[in-house]
Homo-oligomer: 414 residues x 2
C-alpha cells in the first residue's frame, strides 16, 4: 500500500491511497496502518503517459544520422546497423528507452521491433506496461514469408506474457508486407486476442504507390484484408482521404499520431481537428529515438497541439486538454487499460509533478503548463501499477543502464 | 579567473581558462594560481544561447489563456491585464523570465516591452546580457504619438546603460504605429547607436492590410521609412515575398524566427531553407511565455529544425548544425557581441552539459543531441561574461524569485 499525502488533485489538496495496483481512496486526512507514505506537498498528481508507438530497440542509434531523406537514412545508416543487433543488444537498448520513458513520465509503450521477448523482459524488469508487437516484414519474398510465420508462431508459443506485459503483432506496412503475411498476422492476432499495430499512410508516396498497385488507399486495402478494428492501432495516418477517415471512425480504429517523427522525416501534417470532428479515436506516440530523437511525451504533446493549429490554420485546434487526453486516457483505453485517469478504482498509474518548478509557475492551468511549458525536470515521481518507478527524479540502476549504452554505442559509431 | 578542468570541447578533453570576461586559453593540463576551479569531468562545454525576441514581462500570464484566436486572446485576456502591470510587477516578471532563461542555457535576450529600465535592472542583477528595447506603439492616435515620444526621450536620457545591458528601441508593428512615430524611432535609434527591433510580416492579414493601406508589403514599407539595416532585428518575418527576401538579404537585416509562437497562434511557417539560400541572416527567439509557453531555446531549436523540414518538404532542411548556430553565434553577432563560440579571445559565455544525462547518450553527435534530444535537465552550468550564473542546476535566489511570481499570479487570476 502507498499513501500519497497532501497532494494537489484537481485544484484541491488531498490524500490518495493506492492498494493492489489501483487507486483505492481519494480523500483528505487519510491515515492507513502499514502504508508507505509519499510526501505530496508542493506536488500535483496527474495521469502518467501512454506511448502508443515506439521502437525502443533503436535507442542505440540516437543522433547517428539526422537531417536525411527517409530512404537514404534507412538504407545508408539504419538498416545496415540494425542487421548487426543481437537479442542482448535489443534488450539493453530497450531497457535504456524505458529509462528515458520513466524519466519523462511514461508508464506504457506499444512497441514494435524484433526479438520482442527481449522487450517484454526489459519492460517487466523496469516495471512498466507494454504491448510488445512482433513485426512481420517479408518484402514480398516467399521464403521470407515462411520464416516470418515461423517467428510469429515461436513468439506466440513463448511463455513471456502477463497482464502488465502483453504480446502483440505488427504488420510493418502495406509496401513491405505481402498480402499472404498480412492475412496471416490478422488471423493469428485475432485468434490469440492480441493487439495488432501497423504503419499506414505515413507518406504521400506510400498512398500513391498503393493506389497504383492495389487501386485503393492503404487504409482501404488494410480494411479489405480484415486488418482494421478497435484492437488495431494505426500509427501515423498522415495522408488520409475523406473516405479513409469515415472508415476509421466507423470501425473505431485507434490512430496514433507521431508528430515529431512526421516532421523530422518531412512526412506531412496529421489532420487532428478534422479527425476529431469525424469522431476518430486519437492517441499519441513518439516513434523511435532515431527519428525524434527522444521519447518524451511532453515534447510530443507540445508539437501535437502546435501542429494541429498550423495544419488547420485555427489557433483553437488541438487544445491542451484534448491533447493531454490523447497522451493519457485515450492511449490507455486503446490498449484496454482501465487507466489514464486519477479516480478511485482505476489502475494506479500516475506522476507527481513539482509545483515549485519554474516551468509550472504561474499555475493558472496545470494542463496547459504540462502541454506547453513543462519538460522532464518537472516530473518528480512516477508510479505504475501502484509501484514507484522513480522518486525524486531518480530511477534505481539508471547509472548502470546509461553506462551500458555508452559502451554499446562504441560498436555502432562507424 | 575561472578554470574549467577536463571538459569535453570539440571531441577532446581540455581545460578552459576564463579571464576578464573572455576565454583566455584553451589547452589541456592548465594550472593557474588563484583561479576558481570548475570541474568539467563528464561535461561538455558549448556556447550559451542568445534569444533574439522576448517580452520577458509577460511571464505572469503563462497558461492564463491558450488555444485562442490571436485577436480574441489579445483583447479579452492579455491587454486588459497588461494595463494593470506596474513597473515593480514588470521587474519581478522579468526577473522570473531571466531565471527560466538561465535554467535553459540562455545568457542574452533582446527584449521589447514597457518600462524597459526595469528590465535593464533585472538583467543586471541576474548577470545576463540584454538589449532592452522600449516599444513604441501609438495606434495612430496623435496624442499617443506625443506621449510615446516623451517616453522614448525619457528612456534615452536615463542612466541605465552599460556594455552588458544595452538600451534599444522598438517599432511595435506597421499596423499599430504611425508613420510619424516610426520615422522618429528610426531617427533616434540611429542617432544613439541603438539596436532597433520590430514585428513584421507575422500574419497573412498584416501583409494584406499593408498592401491595401500602403500599396506595398510591411518589409517594403519599413524600408521606405529607413527602418531596415544590419542593426534592425526583424522578428517573425513569416509571410515574405521574393522581393522582400532579396531586400532583407541585401540590407543584411537579421531575421528572428519564433517558431513556437508562430505555430501556437497559427500565424504560418517560416521559410528557413529559402531564406538561407537567399543569404539572409537568421537568428532565433522564443517570443513570450504567453504565446509559447516557455523560454527554452532548446525547444525552440527543435521546432525550428522540424518546421523547416515540413515547410520545404525536404528532410535535409534546417539541419541541426545550422539551427544550433542560429541560436548561438548568429544571435550574438546580430547584436554586436563577439560571442557564441568557444574560442580564445571570445566573450566567455558558455554552458556545461551533463554527458551522463540519458538525453545525451549515445553521444555520436552532440549538436544533434542538443537540438533534437536535450531538455533543460541536461544543462548543469551557465556562465555569462566569465561569471557563473548557474552551477549544479541551481541559481542563487531562485526559490524567492519563484515565490514572488506565485504571489503575483494571484492578482491576475481573475
Amino acid at each position: 500500500m502507498l499513501l500519497i499525502k497532501n497532494v494537489l488533485h484537481q485544484n484541491r489538496i488531498t490524500d490518495i491511497l493506492i492498494n493492489d495496483g489501483r487507486f483505492a481512496k481519494i480523500a483528505p486526512g487519510q491515515s492507513v496502518a502499514g502504508a508507505r507514505i509519499v510526501d505530496g506537498r508542493d506536488k500535483a498528481v496527474l495521469p502518467a503517459f501512454y506511448n502508443l508507438h515506439s521502437h525502443a530497440g533503436m535507442s542505440v542509434f540516437r543522433g547517428l544520422s539526422d537531417d536525411k531523406e527517409l530512404f537514404a537514412w534507412l538504407n545508408q545508416d539504419i538498416w545496415p546497423r540494425e542487421a548487426k543487433l543481437t537479442p542482448e543488444m535489443i534488450y539493453l537498448a530497450t531497457r535504456f528507452s524505458i529509462l528515458e520513458m520513466i524519466k519523462t513520465g511514461t508508464v506504457f509503450f506499444l512497441d514494435m521491433y524484433f526479438e520482442q521477448q527481449e522487450i517484454l523482459k526489459a519492460a517487466r524488469q523496469m516495471g512498466v506496461r507494454t504491448v510488445s508487437a512482433l513485426t512481420g516484414l517479408d518484402l514480398f519474398d516467399a521464403a521470407k514469408t515462411k520464416t516470418e510465420i515461423e517467428k510469429i508462431e515461436k513468439y506466440i508459443a513463448c511463455g513471456e506474457h502477463d497482464e502488465q506485459c502483453l504480446k502483440g503483432l505488427m504488420i510493418h506496412a502495406v509496401y513491405s508486407v505481402s498480402e499472404e503475411l498480412i492475412r496471416y498476422i490478422v488471423k493469428r492476432a485475432e485468434e490469440n486476442g492480441y493487439y495488432l499495430t501497423l504503419h499506414a499512410s505515413e507518406t504521400a508516396k506510400e498512398v500513391e504507390d498503393c493506389l497504383k498497385t492495389h487501386g485503393c488507399t492503404p487504409i482501404e486495402y488494410l480494411d479489405r484484408l480484415g486488418a482494421l478494428g478497435p484492437k488495431t492501432i494505426v500509427a501515423h495516418a498522415v495522408h488520409l482521404t475523406d473516405s479513409d477517415i469515415a472508415l476509421l471512425a466507423r470501425k473505431k480504429v485507434p490512430l496514433c499520431t507521431n508528430p515529431v517523427s512526421n516532421y523530422k522525416l518531412a512526412s506531412g501534417l496529421f489532420m487532428l481537428q478534422k479527425l476529431q470532428k469525424a469522431g476518430c479515436v486519437l492517441t499519441l506516440g513518439t516513434d523511435s529515438m532515431a527519428s525524434n530523437n527522444n521519447l518524451s511525451m511532453l515534447e510530443e504533446m507540445k508539437l501535437c497541439a502546435l501542429s494541429a493549429k498550423i495544419q488547420s490554420g485555427d489557433a483553437t485546434a488541438g487544445n491542451a486538454e484534448d491533447v493531454f487526453k490523447m497522451a493519457t486516457v485515450n492511449g490507455a483505453r486503446a490498449v484496454g487499460l482501465d487507466a489514464g485517469e486519477i479516480a478511485e478504482g482505476k489502475l494506479a498509474d500516475c506522476i507527481l509533478v513539482d509545483l515549485n518548478s519554474h516551468f509550472l509557475v504561474p499555475n493558472y492551468n496545470l494542463i496547459s503548463n504540462m502541454v506547453y511549458s513543462a519538460d522532464s525536470s518537472c516530473i518528480d515521481t512516477v508510479i505504475c501499477n501502484g509501484r514507484i518507478l522513480m522518486q525524486n527524479r531518480h530511477v534505481d540502476g539508471e547509472e548502470e543502464i546509461i553506462a551500458e549504452i555508452k559502451k554499446l554505442s562504441e560498436f555502432f559509431r562507424n
